[in-house]
Every structure is written in C-alpha cells, then in structure tokens.
C-alpha cells in the first residue's frame, strides 16, 4: 500500500501555547485512520493545518500528498488537492435546497444563469453515492435530520472529487441508527479506495471501523498503531498518560448537609424535538465539597449546569431540591434567589460586559446590595468593588478599568467576584481555568478551597482531568447525557474516567 498523506514535523504556535509540537502523521491510501486524543490534544489544530485553514507559513513542517509537497494558502487549495473536511458543526445553508448546497460556489451556470435541470441530475448522482436515495434534491436541508444533513455534506465533499475525507467527531449528534448508516457508508468508500481520517472520542466506533489509529497528547504524537495490535484500554492510557505536573492544593472536604439533590433530571434539546441532551441524571451535593463533573465535549455537561441555573431553553423534567425544598428554576433570577451562581465556560460571551469597568461587572448581579430604592450609591459600589478586587487579587489599575483590557485570568476573577457578591450557597464553575495561565489557575484553586471552608458547595465542570481529579472530592462522569459513573476522588484514575466518558459503564 502507498502513502496517501504524510504530515512531517508539524509545529504550530499560538501566543503562549505550542498547540502542535513536531507532530508526524502518516495515512496510507485507502484506509480509515482514526485520530484520538483528549480535548485540547491538538487533533483539531492538526486538521485545520491540513485543510488550509491555517495557511502555509503559519506553521512549521511540511505536508506531503501522494508524494508531492503541498503548500496550502487557502481552504480552496486544499480542496483542489482532494482534501475535504466535515466538521462537527455542519456548515450547510439550512434554507437552501440540497442541490443548491451541493453546488454552492460552483453552480452549473452560463452567463450567471443556473441550469437547474443539470444541477438536479448531478445532485441525484452524488446523493446515490452516499446512500441518500429517498430524498429529492429540491428538499430544503433544514428539514432533514442531522444524519441526513451529514450525508449531504459528505456528498458535497465527494462532488469536489475529494479522495481524502476528514470527519471531525461525525457521530456526536447522531442517533444509533444514524451512526450505523454512516459507518456502513464509510466502509463502502473504503472498498472504493477513498482514504478517510476519522476523529472521534468514541473508541467503540473507532475500533469497529478504523484500520489504524494515531494518538496525540499535549500536541505531540504518541504513536501510530495498527488496530489489531492495540486495545481500547491501551489507547485510553496513551491518551491520558501524563503525570500530574501541576500542583493542586486540595483540602479535605468540609462535608455538611446536602444542599442540592437532583433526581431523574432530563433536558430536551431546544431545537431538535425528541433528542435529550441530559437523560435521567441523579446526584446530590453537600456543603463544603467540590463535586466534579467529567465528560467529553458534547456530553451535555454545559447543558446540565446551564439548565440547573435556568439559562437553557430546552424543556426540563425531574426534580431539584435545594436545602430540602423542591424548587423549579425557570429563570436566572430565580436561580440567584435560590443561592445558585454560575461561572460559565465562555466568560466573554456569557460572563462579562466587556465595555464596562471592573466594579460595574462585579456588582451587576447584586445591584440591590449597593442601591436603595433603585438608586445606586456610586461610592459604595467603588468601595465594595475594591473589596472584591483586593480579596481576589484582580490585577487592574483600578476598579474603573474596562474589563475588556484585562488578561483572561483577571477577567475570570471578575466573573467569580460578581458571583461571590451574590452570596451563593452553590457555586457552579464551568471550565473555570480555561485559557488562563498557571499562576492564575493556582489562585483560583486556592480560592475554591477558601469557599468550601466557608461552607459553600462547588460544582466544577472541567475537561482537564488532572484538574478535576486534583481538586474535586467526588466525580461524576457523563457520556451522551447519561451518568456513566460516579466515584470518590481517591478511587478515580484518568483511565477509569476516560473509559466512562467514552461510553463504557463502570462502578
């Protein structure tokens, strides 16, 4: 067998981070090659380099396709070399028909006038290739299910004469039947000699379809293995096999009474009827403990905490009790009243008003603490803002500094300050240390300890397993909206968490 693709010594730097460090990745012609790694291991970055999204020159190393060195400046260059990438987030124009989507940008047109008959004829041919024979090319793509939309995407890729197909987490949003259909289409392609790179967290799928697997970890290649020579367990250990280098100042839990009890909690997807993003979850949280929630991207962690906080639009069923009383939280105002606080995963989008200054952001959820009769006491606001700035060691010139100009770590502290000012009983931290430097991380861990000492309960969602294991007292693992495991921190290892997160039930 010949080599279809070779990526040699690829290094990609972002400011302050080496996303890819001397990665070498070789794919043989006509195989299905799986690419595995934890969140942030560098899979997506590698594929963005390959697809021309990061143009040549923005990285070091070379890309060799069928023996020729290629330099892609744009996505179009990569497409011409036969590379097509299908992202997790489908990129179809939902209000256009299948035919319009398939030939978007390369319509069969003369003098700008489209020959629709020809477009429909050609569409049918490509739809047949991907096994979509029961829909007309005139169908609006928005009316199709996710699985069929994906098939349209694949047809679109094929119509560009792609011979190297990259699928990034293709099954994240699919039902089981849809997954089966997809896998059988891919097997068919393989038989016809199409090369395929398959990125997935779901190792069961990987082992059912791939010929070989490459594992990335922390931006480096761990190795490439033939699928017969390796086991699921081995892949997991290769994915996580890193030592706990960072220091986690975990203290013993100050466990008190149960503050929150969630039973048979389900959340529906707001747009896709019948799809549950959270399916029958039950758990409880005690005062003075850090409760960790683990899971892969798309497992439903953020949806869970957002809906507990009243900030998710999907319908909810099940019961939530706070301090023994049953509550129904339908809005964020109610959540705050019941003593909940949520530091969201995307602080710029959901946490801060970037154009406002530090004190205005800190007091935003507690304006009644600094006002009487709806009138703000500005000096009191400055005073209290100062207190939080001091306590959280926010590095800013003054409380009147615009938060948009602060570093990520300091912005995160502003968000935390905002929530602490509401005196919460339960503090939910969704990816609390994403994108912030090691020093600021440690400060946030220390702060978490102080808070549980005061009797607060903390829910921490994190993709960083070392952090989750290093800080939480109990860890719940969810996969595809379902709880697959729960253990005390001492019992947890990265391997068992990963096994549970990739769908295997343990414990």
């Amino acid at each position: 067998m010949t080599t279809a693709l070779e990526m040699r010594n690829i290094t990609k730097q972002f400011p302050g981070v080496k996303a890819l460090d001397d990665v070498t990745f070789t794919v043989r012609k006509g195989e299905i090659h799986a690419l595995c790694g934890e969140n942030g291991a560098g899979k997506s970055t590698l594929m963005k380099v390959l697809s021309g999204l990061y143009p040549t020159g923005s990285y070091d190393g070379e890309i060799v396709i069928h023996g020729d060195v290629k330099r892609f400046s744009t996505i179009k260059d990569a497409e011409q070399a036969g590379i097509a990438i299908i992202y997790q987030e489908l990129a179809l124009a939902k209000d256009l028909s299948i035919a319009e989507n398939l030939f978007l940008g390369k319509e069969f047109a003369r003098w700008g006038v489209i020959n629709w008959d020809r477009a429909f004829k050609e569409s049918e041919k490509w739809l047949k290739e991907v096994g979509l024979t029961d829909v007309s090319p005139e169908t609006r793509t928005g009316t199709l299910g996710i699985g069929k939309q994906q098939q349209v995407e694949i047809a679109k890729a094929l119509s560009k004469n792609a011979n190297l197909l990259i699928l990034d987490e293709p099954t994240a949003a699919l039902t089981e039947q849809e997954v089966d259909i997809l896998l059988s289409i891919l097997r068919e392609f393989k038989a016809r000699g199409v090369t395929c790179i398959y990125i997935s967290h779901k190792l069961k799928e990987v082992f059912s379809i791939a010929d070989s697997v490459t594992v990335l970890r922390d931006g480096k290649t761990v190795g490439t293995y033939s699928i017969e020579d390796i086991t699921e367990e081995k892949v997991i250990s290769l994915m996580v096999g890193r030592e706990l280098k960072q220091l986690f100042p975990r203290i013993e839990p100050q466990t008190g009474s149960i503050v929150m009890k969630v039973q048979n909690y389900s959340v529906m997807h707001p747009d896709l009827p019948g799809r549950k993003v959270i399916d029958d979850l039950s758990f409880e949280i005690r005062q003075g403990e850090i409760f960790g929630i683990a899971g892969l991207m798309g497992a439903g962690r953020t949806e869970l905490v957002m809906s507990l906080f009243g900030g998710y639009s999907g319908a909810v069923s099940g019961t939530v009790e706070i301090e023994g009383k049953s509550v129904r939280i339908k809005s964020t105002q109610q959540a705050i009243k019941h003593g909940l606080a949520l530091v969201s995963e995307d602080r710029k989008k959901y946490g801060l008003v970037l154009g406002m200054d530090v004190k205005n952001n800190i007091t935003l959820s507690s304006l009644r603490h600094i006002s009487s009769g709806g009138v703000i006491d500005h000096q009191k606001e400055i005073y209290q803002g100062n207190d939080y700035m001091k306590a959280l060691r926010i590095k800013a010139n003054s409380v009147e500094t615009i938060v948009g100009t602060l570093s990520g770590g300091n912005q995160q502290k502003v968000v935390i300050g905002k929530w602490l000012m509401t005196n919460p009983k339960i503090l939910i931290l969704d990816e609390p240390t994403r994108g912030i430097d090691v020093g600021a991380k440690f400060e946030i861990y220390t702060l978490m300890n102080e808070l549980i000492k005061q009797g607060m309960a903390i829910i921490m969602v994190s993709s960083e397993l070392p952090e989750l294991m290093g800080m939480s007292h109990r860890i719940m693992v969810i996969s595809e909206g379902r709880k697959t495991a729960e253990f005390m921190a001492e019992e947890a290892s990265q391997e068992v968490i990963m096994t549970a997160a990739t769908g295997g039930r343990t414990g």
Binding site: T332, Q333, I336, L352, S371, K380, Y383
Partner: protein, 398 residues
C-alpha cells in the same frame, strides 16, 4: 459605615493610583470633540451672519431644538439597550392630533389633555415594547409598522384636516417664556444644585476614604457651572426670557441623566445593550427592562407632541414627519453606539443642538431647504466616521 484604617486609605490610594491635579479632569476625547464641533459650527455661522449669536436667535435656536431633544432623550435609552424606535415621529403627529382634537373640538382644558396624551404615549410604549421584548419581533420592524400605523391613525381620527387654534392654556407649553425674575430664580436654583452635587460627592468620597479632589478644583467646577447657567439666563432674559419648552428639556435631561447614571434600571439597560447574554445570565429580567425602555421613549414622544402642537398652535398632517431620524441622528452624533451599550443623554442633547444649529444657521442665511438636507446628512456620516476612526485608534493603541 465602616471606619477607615490608615492602611485601607493607603490601599485605596494605591488602587486609584496617585492622583495629580491633571488626573481629576477625565480626558473624554469624544465629549470634547463634540463640543469643539458645536463651537466650530457656531463660530462659522456667526462669521457668516451677524445675527446668529444674537439673543433673539439663540432663543429661537433653543426653542427649535426642544422637540428633537425630548425625542433624543428617549431614543438614547432605546439605542443603548440595543434597539431602535422608528415610530416616534409619527407618534408625535398622532398624539398631537389627539391633543388638538380634544382641545379644539371638544373644548377640553389643558390639564386633562396633557394627562390623556401622556397616558396614550405610555400605553403605546407598552404595546410596542411588549411585542419587541416578549414576542421577540425585531424593534426595527415593530416600530416601522408603528410609524405607518400612527400616521394612518392621525389621518383617520382628524379626517386629514388641520386642527387649530388651541386654547391659550395649552399654548403656554410651547410658546411662553419665563419672566426675568423667575428666570434668575431658576438660574440660582441651578447653581445651588450644581454646588450641592459637587460638595456631596466630596463628602461621600471622604466617607469611604477615597482621595478627594483639591478644594480649589471643586470651587472651580462650581464657578464654571454657575457662569454657564447664569450666562445662559442673562442671554435669554435679554430677549423674552427662558423658553418654557427648553426648560422642560433641561428638567427631562436631568431626570434621565439621573436614571441612566444612578439607578439600577439604567445600569441594567447599559448591560443589556453591552452583552445581552451576560446580562440575562446575571439575573437581569431583560424583557421587562426592554419593555420599560419603550414605555419611557414613547411617553417622551407624547411630551414632545404636546410641545410641538402647542408651539405650532395646530395639529397638521405632516407634524413630526422624519423626527425619528433627527432624534436618531442626534444620538449618534452625540456618541451613542448603534450596537448598544454606550451613549449619554448629555451627548444626545449636544447632538440635537448641532442639528438644530445647522437648521437654524442655514435658514438664517436664506439657504434653500435642499441644502439643509444635504448638509445635515453629510455631517451625520462625517460624525460617525470620526467617532469610529478615533475609537479604532484608541483600540489599536491599547
């Protein structure tokens, strides 16, 4: 309140940085640019026409800017919240029609007419605000529809005839002037308020242990405000006195400046415009706030309708036409961001004054009216260009 230890005072001083005299003047480039542009326009017109800066003309100028100013005050809130209101011009026409009808045809006295007008404005604000906030129909569409509906209602209710003349009582709102004595009293009160505000801020800051500006500077501030206020009264009094509509503008501007800067509602509106997602997740009831913003804006439109109808002494079919655009232009010239989250009442007033000065100056010079459209349009685009340009430069520097 908490007592201050020496260490805390020291900390606060560190937190605010050491303050030199100069640092107490916050350099707000945008505000200075605006005032500079206004002065440039005034200097230009006074060179071109000797009567531009005469008391008579200045009195007219402030009278003319009143309606646009009142509309602009409400529009600032709407735009800061990230929305737009295209209906206020037609609303001025419609409510003006109702006012004139009740007063002229049914002989209602001034007070009930005023109450009904304001109630109608608030009710319409409720309806438009409810559709926008709770039914999620874009404000652009709802108020574009409103623009047509209210103009239609004006034609329908008045039977497309001019309704005139109003009773003397109602006319005072738009046409009367304060006597010299009352003018001076008002000026004196204004000076007193300015002094109290400056001194209260001093005492409040020292209560919390913040560095306080030098006393001399406070005195200077009070003197500057006093000169401006009393100078204004003197100029107005040398003609007929302070025009009542302008006094209303000043009162409304003070109230709404207070609302935007000192109330939780005002703060929340700025947060909603700055980042609606974050505002919602911070526990702000966005829908209720947005609805209230429209209620306020349309209530102000009712007040503007009273002033305009009283000044014209009639309700006409074209009353208020394109006023929404003048109001929006005033806000934008005054630094309100159409993306939402930023803007000030004071800025909008200066914007309204710029627009009115252009109108007034060009009419004074007997320029044909088509020039007024062209020049005003050009100035609007230029103002926003300058604003965006200076903002980009600031961002690049940061």
């Amino acid at each position: 309140m908490k007592g201050q230890t020496a260490a805390e005072t020291e900390y606060n001083q560190a937190a605010f940085g050491s303050r030199s005299w100069k640092s107490w003047f916050k350099f707000d480039a945008r505000a200075y640019t605006m005032i500079g542009a206004l002065l440039a326009i005034w200097v230009l017109f006074s060179l071109l026409h000797e009567r531009f800066l005469s008391p008579t003309n200045l009195s007219n100028l402030f009278l003319q800017m009143s309606v646009t100013s009142i509309l602009a005050i409400g529009m600032v809130l709407v735009i800061v919240a990230g929305h737009i209101d295209l209906s206020v011009g037609s609303l001025v026409g419609f409510i003006g029609g109702i006012v004139a009808m009740l007063n002229v045809w049914y002989d209602w006295p001034a007070l009930p007419v005023i109450i009904v007008a304001i109630a109608i404005g608030a009710l319409i604000g409720c309806i438009q605000g409810w559709i926008i906030a709770y039914k999620a129909v874009p404000a652009f569409i709802v108020t574009l529809g409103g623009m047509l509906v209210f103009r239609g209602l004006l034609f329908g209710t008045t039977g497309s005839v001019t309704v005139a003349p109003l009773s003397p009582g109602l006319k005072t709102i738009g046409q009367s002037y304060m006597t010299d004595l009352i003018g001076w009293v008002i000026g004196g009160i204004g000076l007193l308020i300015a002094a109290v505000l400056v001194l209260r801020k001093r005492s409040s800051r020292s209560k919390y242990g913040f560095p306080v500006e030098p006393l001399a500077l406070s005195v200077l501030r009070i003197i500057a405000a006093g000169t401006l206020i009393l100078g204004f009264v003197a100029v107005m009094n040398s003609y007929k006195g302070i025009p009542v509509p302008f006094l209303m503008v000043v009162v409304l501007a003070l109230i709404f400046t207070f609302i935007t800067r000192n109330t939780t509602f005002g703060r929340q509106v700025y947060a909603i415009g700055g980042n609606p997602e974050a505002a919602k997740l911070s526990g702000i009831n966005i829908k209720r706030r947005v609805m209230l913003v429209f209620v306020l804006c349309n209530t102000l439109a009712a007040i503007a309708a009273l002033v305009l109808t009283a000044r014209l002494n009639a309700a006409t079919m074209t009353a208020g036409q394109n006023y929404e655009l003048d109001a929006i232009a005033a806000c934008v010239i005054g630094g309100t961001s159409l993306i939402g989250g930023a803007g000030s009442i004071m800025g909008a007033l200066i914007g309204a004054l710029v627009m009115s000065s252009l109108d007034n100056g060009m009419s004074l010079m007997n320029m044909e009216s088509f020039w007024q459209y062209i020049v005003k349009g050009g100035i609007l685009v230029l103002a926003v260009y300058v604003d965006i340009h200076t903002r980009n430069r600031k961002n690049n520097a940061a």
